[in-house]
């Protein structure tokens, strides 16, 4: 079973050299720490920055320089700043090659819910609806089940949707799932996790091949 760092590590393996990548808040942000050495990616922050660098040293903290999670960051060589309309222009015109974001629920046709729990929590969708509606390549980083032990990998989402039929891949603490033809496809299992456990914790329709490799991270 993976912890959140493991999930981030596994997702980092999806990065290809030259990719422009948008990483959402939470586990997705951690992906930046595991970019393979032979791969150069440029991170996009939808508030208006291409080329997010590491967190600043204490003396270099700059209130004018934050990422979409409102954390202080730095720039890298070749960074650029732009307004939010251009930022989402890049996203809508699919110049961003990969989007990684968290989710509360994902369904077998690729729907995603991550912005609202009616009557309980309304934080807003921020840029998530734009990202999922536009990106060609969307990976969701999430836990397989909620705290009550109920699967979040569903036949259909119960929460208000963020986007429809958009998620391509899901990486959880248990498995890597691909979504196609309206089904989840189990393509890798986390170290030490059995196929049976994954099946039992997946509510949505799951296609399981004869051999499910353990993921290498």
């Amino acid at each position: 079973m993976l912890d959140k760092y493991g999930i981030a590590k596994r997702i980092a393996k999806e990065l290809k050299d030259g990719f422009y990548v948008n990483l959402g808040i939470g586990i997705p942000t951690l992906v930046a720490n595991y970019v393979p050495e032979d791969v150069e990616v440029i991170l996009q922050s939808e508030n208006g920055l291409l080329g997010i660098g590491p967190f600043p040293f204490e003396d270099d903290v700059d209130a004018d320089l934050i990422n979409a999670g409102k954390q202080t960051v730095t720039t890298t060589k070749g960074s650029s700043f732009f307004d939010s309309a251009m930022s989402f222009g890049m996203i809508r015109s699919q110049r961003v090659n990969l989007t990684v974001l968290g989710a509360m629920e994902v369904s077998q046709n690729g729907d995603i819910a991550n912005w609202k729990i009616p009557g309980k929590m309304v934080k807003g969708m921020g840029g998530a609806m734009d990202l999922v509606a536009s990106a060609e390549n969307i990976i969701v980083a999430m836990m397989h089940s909620n705290k009550a032990g109920e699967s979040k990998i569903l036949k259909s989402c119960s929460l208000p949707l963020t986007g429809v039929a958009c998620v391509k891949k899901v990486v959880t603490e248990l498995a890597v799932l691909e979504i196609k033809d309206g089904k989840f496809h189990l393509i890798e299992r986390a170290p030490g996790v059995s196929v049976e456990e994954i099946i039992s914790k997946t509510e949505g329709e799951l296609v399981v091949p004869d051999f499910v490799p353990e993921m290498e991270i």
């Binding site: 004018d64 320089l65 934050i66 307004d83 939010s84 309304v122 969708m125 921020g126 840029g127 609806m129």
Partner: protein
């Protein structure tokens, strides 16, 4: 062509109860601090505020919520604000949440004289309810309308007496977009310079979009989440 006003009071002249006001910034980054404080002092009520976020409890637009000057908030993300959540759940505050890119682009549409735009954001979600959809090249888009607002209030890094503006780092965010979208655009700047001091190639917002500009003061520039790398 001098657009300089002498202080925030003069800058905010004409803002009245029930008006719709755009406020630049993302989180607490690049928000018009002087003007927000000025609005509180002015005491105008029942405002509709268009801004990406609602500040935090004791800073930014959060201050205007505390004083109950805001009737309706149009934003994309309002987490990190307990008073906001309380007013929302109790029904005191009307809230319209819209995707961040839609928010940005609807501002730009106003400034570019485009009455409506098409975006895929929100298709198939509750954001699409009551909105016209249209398919282009097999993909479904929502038609979203340009914003109408009485005033736009933004913060720039540098500005000149003609209203030309330059923004710094990610404090640019929604500021140049809203600067183009106000019926009247008010700008506060960290540094006000004479016309001619800014490189014409490097101006983010041409002065034609700006009606009033003033030298801000006492910027706190609070940071929502200080994250650092240990040396």
């Amino acid at each position: 062509m001098n657009k300089v006003v002498k202080n925030v009071e003069e800058a905010l002249h004409g803002i009245e109860d029930n008006m719709t006001i755009m406020l630049g910034g993302f989180g607490l980054c690049g928000i018009p601090e002087n003007s927000i404080n000025g609005l509180i002092k002015k005491g105008v009520k029942n405002l509709t505020c268009i801004s990406n976020n609602a500040g935090v409890d004791d800073f930014g637009i959060g201050l205007l919520l505390k004083t109950r000057q805001v009737k309706k908030m149009i934003a994309s993300y309002v987490g990190e604000n307990a008073e906001f959540e309380r007013q929302l759940l109790s029904g005191e505050l009307d809230v319209e949440l819209i995707p961040q890119g839609t928010l940005a682009t609807r501002c730009m549409a106003t400034g570019y004289g485009m009455p409506a735009i098409y975006t895929p954001a929100g298709v198939g979600t509750e954001v699409a309810e009551g909105k016209e959809t249209r398919i282009f090249d097999g993909k479904t888009y929502l038609m979203e309308m340009a914003f109408k607002s009485d005033f736009a209030i933004v913060k720039a890094w540098k500005g000149d007496t003609h209203g030309n503006l330059i923004f710094r780092a990610t404090s640019r965010n929604f500021n140049p977009l809203m600067a183009m979208a106000g019926k009247i655009t008010i700008v506060e700047v960290e540094e006000l310079v004479p016309a001619g001091d800014l490189d014409p190639d490097m101006i983010h917002t041409p002065g034609i979009y700006v009606n009033r500009i003033f030298q801000g003061k006492d910027y706190e520039k609070r940071i929502e989440q200080i994250t650092i790398t240990q040396k």
